[in-house]
Amino acid sequence: MPDNPDDLAIHARAVTRIYKAKPEPVTALGGVDLDVQPGEFFGLLGPNGAGKTTLIKILTTLLLPTSGTARVAGFDVVNETAKIRRVINMVSGGEQSGYGLLTTREQLWMFSQFYGLTQRDGWKRVDELIEITGLQEQRDQKVRTLSTGQRQKLNFARGLLNDPWVLFLDEPTLGLDVAAARDLREHTLAWKAETEGRTVLLTTHYMVEAEQLCDRIAIVDRGRILALGTPEELRRRVQAESIFRIELDQLPAQGGLAAIGALPGVVSAVHADVDGEGAGSDRVAVKVALADDSALTSVVTAVAERGSHLVGLEKSEPSLEDVFVELVGRGFGDEDGTSAS
């Protein structure tokens, strides 16, 4: 693996980004160090506002860092923007780029011209990408008539037009249904596997997506990288703890989740999604991390004392969200104060 910053796909050192704002400036990135190897599928995992998109904007030359240095494909993001732009591309979730009156095929061809593909190569590449992304039936359909999923496939195809050495995917499956998101993930993996050296930097707040796609993941929150490693390495950080998913008929009274989190032997207690037949009801799900299994008794007792009834209980394998909770003391969907550790 190369150590020379010029040989890395992405190299960032002490990158900060502070936005002017009132009443006080907002620190979006608070000193990020990051090395991504060529050929790596790297994930930035974190909740909204963690600084993921800001980092991508810096690496794609759209923003200057307030301080620190960053290089993409060996080129400096401040002074060598033209060279970086020749070897990268990016796709964002919910993107509405292009012009609605063009057909799918025309839209892709137009963007191919911005990368200098010849007429013949441009149309050839467009047809290849339409086939790869499964948009054959929509190839002559106007872009404004495409569904959200089709539109995002089109955006993805646009991102591959120039065969980028480094592809930036910023929440690419945001708002897509399960099938469309799965298709997109499969296309991404297939494209990357085609040629050695293709690097992908993905930002997401979907755990499954990060685990499925990424060789390594950085967990980001409030502008800082809290942990970095392979999904397995990250999960191992919390394997010393026992994690239980508890489903209740209602939120416990007298202190709620915070009271549970404060019990002896409880490392953290956060909200989890209620699924299955409980979805849409008043039920609540809680994920508790315990120092050892014996603390479970006090949790169940405390819940009952606070007027809640146990509907379900299961032991869980540690997930990336558990790692996140361990690191920051709250879940992805939780704001300050709604959880305890």
């Binding site: 002017k20 759209l62 494909a73 070897v87 063009l102 963007f111 200098g116 593909l117 065969d163």
Partner: protein, 294 residues
């Protein structure tokens, strides 16, 4: 799959472009950006109503006023020609000056910024596409106006006329290219800024009346507005027999106006280039303007 970086073994090799390749990429980017505007002619037939028939009503109103006042017939020709040139001005205001604002809203601007072509190529593509699209509208206004109102032209130097027309388009669209960056920097609402510019330039450009009628403001207009200079030069070439002692008399000789247009072309294009560079620096430094979510 065909490969864009077919011969490059590393990203560093792929990023090394010759001057020839740079030029080719930018030329293709111009064609690419012009494409949606040109193809739009066949996709949105409603433009015939909104951009020919409705503006033609305004032209007709002036014609009827001049007829009622028994003004010389040249006035009718002036109005028809002015109506045709109005189409270009509207195109510059709405589809050049306000365009970056809308491109930002759609998320196109950040894709343009992060692509390898120069942004001037995008502006040039917008201008060429707009020019082609609007020429068809302008020709329609001239054709309909000439037939309905019986306008006769005395064009003795058609090549010079064509040259003056294209020379007018360079500073006119250059002005649009400049405003594209300025609108984005100044305001949150391109729509309002476009409206703010539209009527004053109708007036100062003299599209519906001989510009000499508003002396001495006309002298200022001639000095700064490509539309006013170009229209005055074209009217001289299309209606050469207008009474030189009356209000129909030209502001300046055609040769002088050609020089003014050429200077304006250089000034506006250079200013557009500088404004674009400033916009990009500002956008990268402050983290606003180009980013859809800010």
């Amino acid at each position: 799959m065909s490969s864009y970086h077919a011969l490059a073994k590393t990203p560093r090799e792929a990023a090394e472009w010759s001057t020839g390749r740079l030029i080719r990429v930018n030329m293709r980017a111009i064609v690419g950006r012009a494409y949606p505007r040109i193809i739009g002619l066949t996709r949105e037939p409603s433009w015939i109503f909104f951009e020919i028939l409705l503006p033609f009503l305004a032209v007709s109103a002036f014609v009827f006023v001049y007829r009622a006042l028994e003004a010389p017939e040249e006035f009718i020709g002036f109005v028809v020609l002015g109506g045709a040139m109005t189409a270009f001005w509207l195109n510059v205001v709405w589809m050049m000056a306000a365009q970056f604002y809308w491109e930002k809203d759609q998320g196109n601007l950040e894709l343009y910024f992060s692509a390898p072509m120069h942004l001037m190529s995008i502006l040039a593509g917008m201008a060429i596409g707009g020019l082609v699209m609007t020429s068809s509208r302008a020709l329609a206004v001239i054709g309909i106006g000439s037939i309905l109102f019986g306008v006769s032209y005395d064009i003795q130097q058609p090549w010079l006329l064509a040259g003056v027309f294209f020379l007018t388009m360079i500073p006119l669209y250059g002005m649009g290219m400049l405003f594209a960056s300025l609108f984005l920097m100044w305001g949150r609402e391109g729509f309002h800024l476009a409206q703010l510019l539209q009527e004053p330039i109708y007036f100062l450009g003299g599209v519906n009346f001989p510009i000499r009628a508003i002396m001495p403001v006309a002298a200022l207009a001639i000095a700064v507005l490509p539309l006013a200079v170009g229209l005055d030069a074209m009217r001289q070439l299309v209606f050469p027999n207008s009474d030189p002692e009356e209000v129909l008399a030209p502001m300046l000789p055609v040769n002088v106006e050609i020089v003014i247009l050429a200077v304006m072309g250089v000034v506006f294009l250079v200013a557009a280039r500088l404004a674009l560079g400033y916009l990009e620096r500002l956008a990268r430094r402050e983290g606003r303007l180009t980013l859809r979510w800010q």
